[in-house]
């Protein structure tokens, strides 16, 4: 189901690791690289701090897209955190896909502290992708719908 | 400065002339340098300035061999040969501006000249 409502303003939660991606986001600010206001960043020490619970919570509370950003594999400030992230999030995203949640609502990107431009471009693209999907068809309970 | 022409040349060539750092390696490597009035680095710079009519009216556009030596060796990935080609196309696409016409051909032929030379020349010099 695709809704092409141009006025639709998706709610997007971005989890950024403190060392690379949050700094990359700061850099895109320092360089005045625009990306949509829809994106709100939550700072976490490492992408491996992102519990699948947080992602589901975001979807539960009305987020239309969730993106996680971390250091590039091999560059994790904590050596291996993003490797765990990669496995966990791959499995979780695959599960969400299995449950019928559109693939473009979830993303994991590696953004280094030097990649301000990549951060802005990624957020622009992600927002656009989510905007194209329209509001999140939540994993709602059919019994609630009937009432 | 001819803004429309400049835009047309930039679009047609697909080249970002602003990447040029003015090292002159294209002109250092060009095998047709001595035959040209304007040299590869000047093409890039003059397109940047929008001074395209001068280039179009110069014989230089017909001297480029499209050998891509400048493209291959440019340290900035500017691709001067594509700029030359775009300017040449801008010239020959104008009404009645073909640089080569079929009536000239018989005089140019010799028994060994490959067809390839003729078709290539037409592709380069005429529309």
């Amino acid at each position: 189901m695709q809704v092409n409502d141009n006025n639709f303003q998706p709610v997007i939660v971005a989890f950024c690791c403190n060392w690379c991606s949050y700094a990359g986001a700061d850099l895109s600010g320092t360089n005045r690289l625009n990306y949509p206001t829809n994106v709100k960043i939550i700072r976490v020490p490492c992408s491996c701090r992102v519990n699948p619970m947080f992602i589901l919570r975001a979807f539960q509370k009305g987020a239309d897209g969730v993106i996680i950003c971390g250091c590039h594999p091999g560059d994790c400030h904590y050596t291996s955190g993003n490797y765990y992230t990669r496995r966990r999030i791959t499995l979780l995203y695959s599960m969400l896909d299995f449950l019928g949640i559109e693939r473009n609502r979830t993303r994991l990107e590696w953004v280094s502290a030097a990649e301000g431009a990549k951060f802005a471009a990624t957020m622009q693209q992600f927002t656009e992708d989510v905007r194209k999907l329209g509001p999140n068809r939540r994993l709602e309970d059919l019994r609630c719908r009937k009432q | 400065m001819n803004k429309n022409l400049k835009e047309q040349v930039l679009r047609s060539s697909g080249v970002n002339v602003l990447k040029c750092m003015r090292c002159g390696k294209c002109s250092g490597t060009c095998p047709s340098y001595d035959e040209m009035e304007y040299h590869p680095h000047q093409f890039v710079y003059m397109v940047e300035k929008g001074d395209i009519d001068t280039l179009m009216n110069s014989n230089s556009v017909y001297k480029c061999l499209t050998c891509f030596a400048c493209v291959e060796r440019c340290p900035r990935g500017v691709e001067p040969a594509k700029v030359v080609e775009a300017v040449r196309l801008a010239a020959v696409r104008q009404q009645g501006s073909n640089h080569l016409s079929p009536v000239q051909i018989p005089d140019m032929l010799d028994e060994d000249l490959p067809q390839q030379a003729i078709v290539t020349a037409f592709r380069k010099y005429a529309k």
Partner: protein, 265 residues
């Protein structure tokens, strides 16, 4: 036996029949089947790099699509055809705008978006047949012959697209020369332009360019020069003023494989 769709190109049908005939007989001897598509058109001789040129790319796409339909890789022997077709193939697989416009023109059953793999005959010899394999089939090695390989510009550049060899220090033709028993001569002008089509516009310039190439080869002691391009052959022979013979590489290959008499009748 491996089958290739074979695109000879216009010049190989007229002024460069030798290049074509030797290419065919050698391929057969080396276990390669060359299938010529039913009706091909001239590639145009030069690739127009302009993004707004569509019509000049159609014939190359038709050829590429013929190979796709046949399910074969495509091989060409003329450097110019190879250059045009490979560049077209590269651009159509990456430039969506161009691909769409071209396909709109062609109205193919299924859009062509760069599916065919394009080989130059030399690449086919190196990557499919193998120079070692050729070496084992040579019956009349060109022993003691100092042979200068002339690449020109079309065979190597743009290197990113042609992806055939190091554009500044290529080895494919030198390896070929070794395989047929000759001694390669390295000279700096081997990858510089012979003047190409400028021979029509400005004879003097063509003379200057081709002389530079032949003088450089002579300076390094070449007995002969080989090339893959009919226009290069023309310029080097006609315009350089040099006495050193220039051959198509396929002719030497045929000679080394002992096929020359058969095809020369």
């Amino acid at each position: 036996m491996k089958t290739f769709t074979y695109y000879p190109g216009c010049t190989l049908r007229t002024k460069a029949k030798d290049l074509d005939a030797y290419a065919r007989s050698c391929a057969e001897a080396l276990g390669i089947a060359l299938e010529e598509p039913a009706d091909w058109q001239c590639c145009g001789g030069a690739y127009t790099t302009a993004k707004d040129e569509i019509a000049t790319k159609l014939s190359a796409v038709r050829t590429l699509n013929a190979a796709k339909q046949a399910g074969n890789p495509l091989v060409t022997v003329c450097s110019a055809c190879h250059n045009v077709i490979k560049q077209t193939n590269y651009d159509i697989s990456r430039d969506e705008d161009m691909a769409q416009k071209v396909n709109n023109y062609l109205k193919l059953d299924e859009a062509y978006t760069g599916e065919t793999t394009v080989y130059h005959y030399l690449e086919m010899l190196r990557d499919v047949v193998g120079f070692d394999n050729i070496k084992s089939k040579v019956t009349k090695p060109l022993k003691g012959k100092k042979i200068a390989a002339y690449y020109g510009c079309l065979l190597l550049r743009p290197a990113k697209i042609l992806a055939m060899d190091n554009p500044e220090n290529p080895t494919i033709m030198e390896d070929f020369i070794k395989a047929i028993g000759g001694t390669p001569v390295i000279y700096a002008q081997r990858n510089e332009c012979c003047g190409g089509y400028i021979t029509m516009e400005d004879k003097a310039q063509a003379v200057k360019r081709s002389s530079a190439v032949m003088n450089s080869a002579a300076d390094m002691g070449a007995d002969m020069v080989i090339t893959a391009c009919p226009l290069c052959l023309y310029n080097l022979k006609k315009n350089s003023g040099s006495q050193i013979p220039v051959y198509y590489f396929t002719e030497l290959l045929a000679e080394a494989l002992g096929l020359k008499e058969d095809t020369n009748e």
